[in-house]
Symmetry: C2
Subunit: 248 residues, 2 copies
């Protein structure tokens, strides 16, 4: 029996040039880049298990993952070696030894996403890959009103896209939605126990609509109870979205 | 006689994908992109005169320029039309009508540059094109000590690279150098009446050396009076540098 050593990684990545997190045939993804680095390092396939997927163009400040190594290695050496083998748009921010039964996806307690909006006529070029540009003035108090309807344990079928895989349930628990405004910057901070496919972008897209006054905040409850995705809920573009933090 | 209308532009750009500001044969520059947009707009060559050049990979938050149009046009229309014709990594942030004798380079009173450093072991991927990564801990108080020697009207030949063009003088006046530290972020803010070729990157490269304790702050005066560029003054990489503001 080979003893394996489990590690937990915290990973930041710029999703601009990747076809999302998940390994897929014929495209370069964040997971495939991490496994390529580990293959070089260990001389064999080492699987990386993330806390969940992110879509093409979506970023992560604090994605988490676990992996097993056949040899014990100081976590800071693993971190340094991986960063030396990765392109600078993926960084292992932290590595640590984890319990043998730690699981990056199954053990998640809270996931936090942040959606960044630049709400002004002209967007400085430096943020074009990291914020969504909305020229139309957004009413943040209306967005906050709508957000209240989304809190709690609910069926979020109306705020999800059809996944390619079959889901056991579309019930999720949203713990909090905070909307911060500072000058032209608006950030939607969403915490929950988990999220459906494109759920954060759907909620953000809907809240932007409410902020533009093209949909009244009061309709939010009806949309949830309908459990039907409609044109009232657009998917906001990926570049504004960051997987911010995963708590265990 | 054709009457011409002079406009002043404030321009932000991400220098990553450009061979600097200045038009050159065979490469794409910020100036060539602006003139391309104006050519489409006016149907003829409209020259753009910047406050000065920036090198390949250097950014601008507030570059300024002037140009003459044969027809009077509301400045906000000019701004909007140019932005529609430019790629999102160059933005006209502001346009206004200027006096007929306004000259973006000759009338400069104060130029402000900012050099951004990320001083920590690992750099999050989102800042890789906009900050310079220095792993070695920098002593900011030593950097401030060295900066004091650089203030005032001085011959800065030792802090410039040889330009391709002949200079009348290498005397410049530095009004202030402020070094801010906030967590892992360090910013060097330099204001002066003008700067020699690669002067801000040379000063930044030198101050980084001082901060690393590889050169004592007290040597700064001797370097200035030597008027000779030496290996003690390296050129810091371009991606940390922003032309921040030009005042008239």
């Amino acid at each position: 029996v080979i003893e394996l050593y489990r590690y937990k990684l915290t990973i930041a990545y710029d999703g601009t040039n990747y076809a999302g997190w998940q390994i897929q045939q014929g495209v370069i993804t964040v997971q495939s880049e991490l496994e390529r680095a580990l293959n070089t390092l260990a001389g064999k396939l080492i699987r990386v298990y993330g806390s969940g997927r992110t879509d093409q163009g979506v970023h992560a400040r604090g994605q988490t993952a676990h992996l097993d190594l056949p040899h014990k290695m100081p976590p800071s050496d693993l971190r340094r070696a991986m960063n030396a083998l990765l392109k600078p748009d993926i960084r292992v921010m932290n590595a640590r030894l984890a319990a043998k039964d730690f699981h990056a996806r199954n053990n998640v307690k809270i996931k936090e996403y942040r959606y960044f909006i630049w709400n002004s006529q002209i967007m400085p070029p430096f943020m074009r890959y990291y914020k969504t540009h909305i020229k139309h003035n957004l009413d943040v108090s209306d967005m906050r009103k709508a957000a209240l309807f989304l809190l709690g344990k609910k069926d979020f079928a109306a705020f999800a896209a059809n996944p390619k895989y079959k889901l056991a349930t579309t019930i999720r628990h949203i713990y909090s939605i905070t909307i911060r405004k500072h000058g032209s910057d608006i950030v939607i901070i969403i915490k929950g126990n988990g999220f459906l496919y494109k759920m954060v972008r759907s909620i953000s897209g809907f809240l932007i609509r409410v902020g533009r006054k093209s949909v009244p905040a009061e309709i939010t409850g009806n949309i949830i109870t309908s459990k039907k995705r409609t044109a009232l809920v657009p998917t906001a573009p990926p570049q504004g979205l960051f997987l911010w933090k995963v708590q265990y």
